[in-house]
Structure formats: structure tokens, C-alpha cells
């Protein structure tokens, strides 16, 4: 009764231990204040992982649109430009919708701070979205109810705008990884830069997924990249889970685990399908859908893993204690030299 603050492992962990009698790694022992969280989980809802996915899809699509423009693949180019505009619009909507005061969105535009990935990202999206918009508008200039000179102007701006969007795409695909890593949320903080690699691969997989909807004679690059980025994403996720150390288990537990397993199945089957559906457009579209769904699930997995790691004080206390002990050992090792 008077014994305070000793951590009781949650039900889930105890159950798993029983089911694995050979487990040799004991639950980490640590002290907490009545098992309450130390750091706070972000107040973000599904809008934020959705915004990550849509930003990645936009970036991947812009890269594809530029490649298609250079190599003369008009249908792939048109599809990708439209996808980029749609995705970045939905992404911006999700970001604003998640604000506690959406009507104050413009407050983001009063400063530019390199220490704030969200500030950098806002400026990136602000620069990128008009480019994506112009590139897409150029594709449909001829059918828009505009005077002819305007139509010609829009059409002539499409390619330069497309280049600009493609130039910003790599940053757009990856900055959200820094946004997560630059927090005190254990899983995101420990995974650090490995998140950006997972986000880059996921953005390519999404862009490739969309590209697989293009006519078969134009979707070759999408197919190649679908296979490569699936492998890249699976590898990046593996590295990320390793890098997160103790908090890495939040990737396999609970909601994050469900999303993660779904992502893996969808990505791998999407990649395999992309490789074997060279002759069927419907098959390719199914593969593309699986890839996009997989990349989306992976964002939710990473998001939920971080949220779970913030709610359990274990992931805050144990790694910090280990760090302190290591520092102490180092100091002790230096002492005899005196």
C-alpha cells in the first residue's frame, strides 16, 4: 500500500511473457509516478498521419510527372500532375483541420524557423502547392473557360511549374520525418533520421502506386520504382524499428502493430503484383492501390507507435537511465588516470 510508484507491466506484456516461456529478457525495471506518463502524447488525430501520406503522394507524383514530361509519357504526366495537386490540397486541408484554431492558420506565415520542421514544412507546402497547381492547370488549360491568351499562358507555364514542383518534391517527401524526430516522443526521437528514409521510400511507393494507373505502355518507370521502393520501404522500416531501441516494441504492439503488419502485407503484395501485372491494366491498378494503401498504413503505424511510446513512462525513463549509467561508467573509467 505504501509502496509507491513501482511500475506494473500492462496486461498485454504479461500475457505475452506467459505465452513465451523461453523469453530471457526481463521487463525493464524502472520507477515512475503511479505509472503515469512523463512526456505528453501529441494531441494530433488521424489528420496528421493522413497529411504525411498525402504530402508523400504529392511529392512522389510530382517526381513522376517530371520524369514523364522528360521521357514523353503524356498520360503518366497528366495523371501524376493531377494526383499531385489533389494530394497536396487534401494534405493542406488535413493539416489545417487538425489545428486547434483552424481560422488562425495564417499565423504560421508570420515566422520562418529552421528549428521548427513544421514552420519549414509550411513554407515548403506554400511554395510547392502553387507549382503543383499550375502544372495541373496547364494540363487542362484548353478546356477551362478562359480567354485564349490565358489558356496559352497556363499551358506554357505547366512545364516550368512542374520542374519547380519536382525540385521541391524530395524535401516535401522527407521533412515530415524530421517533424516527428524533433520531439521528446520516445519512439520518434530514438528512431530519429531513420524515419525520413522510411518517409522517402513511402513517398516513392505512393507516387509509383498512382503511376501504375497509367496506360501500360507508359507505366514502366512506375513498375520499376514500385518494386524498388517497396524493398526500400520494408528495409527502412526494419532499420527504424532497430534504431528505436527499447521503444521499437511500440511498432509491433497494439494499434501501431496492426497498421504496421497491414502496411507490410500491402506493400509487399503491391510490389509483387506490380512485377507480375505488366500486361493487365486492372492488375496494375490493383497493385497501385495496394502500394498507396500500404504507404498510408505505414504512416499510421509510425504515428501510433510514437503515441503509444509517450503514454508509457517506461520508454522515457529506461533509455534516459541507461544513458546516465553509461556516462557514469565513462567518468569512472577516466578516474584511475588521475
Amino acid at each position: 500500500m505504501t509502496e509507491p510508484a513501482q511500475h506494473r507491466p500492462p496486461e498485454r506484456q504479461r500475457r505475452r511473457r506467459r505465452s513465451d516461456p523461453n523469453a530471457v529478457v526481463p521487463d525493464a525495471e524502472f520507477t515512475s509516478y503511479y505509472g503515469r506518463p512523463i512526456v505528453k502524447a501529441s494531441p494530433w488525430k488521424a489528420d496528421i498521419p493522413a497529411y504525411f501520406f498525402l504530402g508523400g503522394l504529392a511529392a512522389g507524383s510530382s517526381a513522376f510527372a517530371a520524369g514523364a514530361a522528360v521521357t514523353g509519357r503524356p498520360a503518366l504526366r497528366r495523371l501524376s500532375r493531377l494526383s499531385a495537386l489533389g494530394a497536396i490540397s487534401a494534405s493542406a486541408f488535413a493539416l489545417i483541420h487538425d489545428l486547434g484554431r483552424p481560422e488562425r492558420f495564417y499565423m504560421m506565415l508570420r515566422v520562418a524557423k529552421p528549428t521548427s520542421p513544421m514552420s519549414m514544412g509550411t513554407w515548403l507546402v506554400t511554395a510547392y502547392a502553387p507549382c503543383a497547381g499550375l502544372a495541373a492547370a496547364g494540363e487542362f488549360a484548353s478546356v477551362l473557360p478562359l480567354p485564349d491568351p490565358m489558356k496559352r499562358l497556363l499551358a506554357s507555364l505547366a512545364n516550368p511549374a512542374g520542374w519547380a514542383a519536382a525540385a521541391l518534391a524530395p524535401a516535401l517527401a522527407t521533412y515530415t520525418g524530421v517533424l516527428l524526430a524533433d520531439t521528446a516522443t520516445p519512439t520518434w526521437k530514438e528512431a530519429g533520421g531513420t524515419i525520413t528514409a522510411a518517409f522517402a521510400a513511402g513517398a516513392l511507393a505512393s507516387g509509383a502506386g498512382m503511376g501504375l494507373f497509367a496506360p501500360l505502355e507508359e507505366s514502366g518507370p512506375a513498375r520499376r520504382l514500385a518494386i524498388a521502393s517497396t524493398a526500400g520501404e520494408v528495409g527502412a522500416v526494419f532499420r527504424m524499428e532497430k534504431a528505436a531501441g527499447l521503444a521499437g516494441e511500440t511498432f509491433t504492439d497494439g494499434r501501431a502493430g496492426k497498421f504496421g503488419r497491414a502496411a507490410e502485407v500491402l506493400l509487399v503484395s503491391g510490389g509483387i503484383l506490380a512485377a507480375v501485372t505488366r500486361r493487365t491494366r486492372i492488375g496494375s491498378a490493383i497493385a497501385g492501390t495496394a502500394l498507396m494503401a500500404g504507404a498510408c498504413c505505414e504512416r499510421f503505424a509510425i504515428f501510433e507507435a510514437g503515441q503509444a511510446s509517450a503514454r508509457d513512462p517506461k520508454y522515457t525513463v529506461v533509455p534516459q537511465r541507461e544513458r546516465m549509467n553509461q556516462r557514469e561508467r565513462l567518468t569512472d573509467a577516466e578516474r584511475p588516470a588521475q
Binding site: T2, E3, P4, F30, T31, Y33, Y34, R36, P37, I38, V39, K40, S42, P43, A59, A66, G67, A68, T71, L99, G100, R101, P102, R104, M107, R110, V111, K113, P114, S116, P117, M118, T122, A169, P170, G177, V178, A181, D182, T183, A184, T185, W188, K189, G192, G193, T196, A197, A200, L204, A208, E217, G220, L225, S229, G232, P313, R321, R323, M324
Partner: protein
């Protein structure tokens, strides 16, 4: 990044040219009697709304922790102390009580990541949210290594202790320190508080209180030292404090560098995919 100058004078590092000394709190938990007057005074002075009335089953603490509408939180810990003589007498009980508050870090994660500039460094070296600017993006919440700041959901904006910025501007003591009946919460120039705290730890050690230690007083720690620091009688995590907090933005340069690598991979992969065969 964590220059000595900046560590001692965050106000100057933020561009204040002529400014008062850095002000802060020393919360000496060896003097806390758990009266919660600080919690009440803070709520009253700052018009902080009620945020839940429930029995938490954690000793006398039904507040739980710091949050958007709790800017002072008194923790209650009941510890068993073994009887001095193993043969005779029952084990004893030791109370630990501590009033937690925003640390007003030298390197403040919340301030660093705030994309609107709503969070700013005052002339007193404290960290305050400008409520007319905050748009409730929520990024400061996971960026705080102490879990202090939070979004008030019914209001949409982020809130935390202001170290009574309005009172400081009129040479008054913050409400919690003003009302504290045992001087467990001491307010003053940070330099003076640090000296006083070091003396107090020594005094407690001499009295046999071996567990007495300072928390957040070291300008060399992961947040560059706290403007509101503590004298604790046990490990920080016993009180719900992180044992070795680090401001997340400490690694942000390395993170951007790693991201440049990932971005290059992204671009190269796209180029290679299109450089291949015609189909």
C-alpha cells in the same frame, strides 16, 4: 549552440538588449507540506479553468499532472522506510511532496518548434505563449521533454505556466511563490536561487538527508539548465520527472543533414527509374 553566454542569459540570446536578470523558481521539496495552495493560487490568479474532478487513487494527489489547465501540480509519494533496528518496531512511512511547474528551460523545445512564434522568450528569460497568436498546432506538446505544455481541447490553444509574466512586469512575485506558506517555492533571480540551493543541499546532507539533490540546476544538462529548478529528496522519476531530459532540437542539425541524404535517395531513385528502358 549551447554557448555559456546563452546558457546563462537566454533573454539576451533571444535579442533582448536591455533586460532584467533571469528570474526563476527554486522549488525546495524538503519544505513542501502538500497544502496545494500553489495550485489554487495559480488557478485563481491566471483564471485557469477547472479540468476534472476525480479521485485518482494516488495518495492525496487528485490533480494527476501538469497540463493545459494545471500549471502547478503537487505530487504525493508515500514511501516505506525500514525501521532503524531490525529487531524492534514497525517500518515507518516517509512522505515526499513536490510542487511541479514548467521548467522555463534555457533551451526550450516548445519554443524551438513553435511554427507561429506564439511561444517566445520574455525579458526575464522565461517562456510564455502569446494566446492571441497560438493557432493550436499542438507541436509544442510532444516537443516538451517534461510533458508540461498541453492543448486545451475546448479552447484549441496551447497553455502552460507563464511564471506570472503579468505580475513580473509589475515587480510582483508569481502567485504560487507568494502564497506558499513554507517557502518551498522560492522566486528570485536565478543566480541567487542557484547559490541558495547549493547551500541548502549541503545543509541537508550534513543533517543526514543523503538523498537531497538538485534537479535542473546544471547549465550543462540537456536543456541548458532550467529557469525553474528543484531540490528533490529522491530520484527524479519518483516524482514523475524525466531523469535525463534533452531538448529535442539539440539534434535538429544532424536530423536535417540525414534528411538531405534521404531526399537525395528519393531524387536519385526517380531519375534511375526513368533512365531505364522505354517501357
Amino acid at each position: 549552440m549551447a554557448g555559456q553566454h546563452e546558457a546563462n542569459d537566454p533573454a539576451a540570446a533571444s535579442g533582448w538588449l536591455d533586460h532584467p536578470p533571469r528570474m526563476g523558481f527554486l522549488t525546495d521539496t524538503s519544505l513542501c507540506i502538500g497544502c496545494k495552495a500553489c495550485e489554487v493560487a495559480c488557478k485563481q490568479w491566471n483564471s485557469v479553468p477547472e479540468d476534472g474532478l476525480s479521485m485518482l487513487g494516488s495518495s492525496y494527489d487528485n490533480t494527476g499532472g501538469l497540463g493545459a489547465s494545471t500549471w502547478r501540480h503537487v505530487a504525493f509519494i508515500e514511501q516505506t522506510v525500514p525501521a532503524p533496528d531490525p529487531g524492534g518496531g514497525a517500518d515507518g512511512l516517509r512522505w515526499l511532496m513536490s510542487s511541479d511547474v514548467c521548467k522555463h528551460c534555457t533551451h526550450a523545445g516548445c519554443l524551438d518548434v513553435c511554427p507561429t512564434g506564439a511561444l517566445f522568450r520574455t525579458e526575464f528569460g522565461t517562456v510564455v505563449v502569446q494566446q492571441d497568436i497560438c493557432n493550436g498546432c499542438g507541436y509544442c506538446v510532444p516537443a516538451c521533454p517534461f510533458g508540461v505544455i498541453d492543448r486545451r481541447e475546448e479552447d484549441g490553444r496551447a497553455w502552460k505556466c507563464t511564471l506570472c509574466y503579468d505580475r513580473l512586469q509589475h515587480d510582483q512575485t508569481p502567485a504560487c511563490a507568494q502564497v506558499c506558506p513554507t517557502q518551498s517555492i522560492q522566486f528570485g533571480p536565478l543566480d541567487e536561487l542557484r547559490e541558495r540551493a547549493a547551500d541548502r543541499v549541503e545543509e541537508l546532507h550534513e543533517r543526514g538527508e543523503a538523498g537531497a539533490r538538485l534537479y535542473g540546476a546544471d547549465p550543462g544538462d540537456g536543456v541548458g539548465g532550467a529557469g525553474a529548478f528543484f531540490l528533490l529528496l529522491d530520484e527524479p522519476e519518483v516524482y514523475g520527472l524525466p531523469p535525463d531530459p534533452v531538448v529535442p532540437t539539440r539534434d535538429v542539425v544532424a536530423l536535417w543533414r540525414q534528411t538531405a541524404g534521404a531526399a537525395l535517395m528519393f531524387a536519385a531513385s526517380a531519375v534511375v527509374a526513368f533512365a531505364g528502358r522505354r517501357r
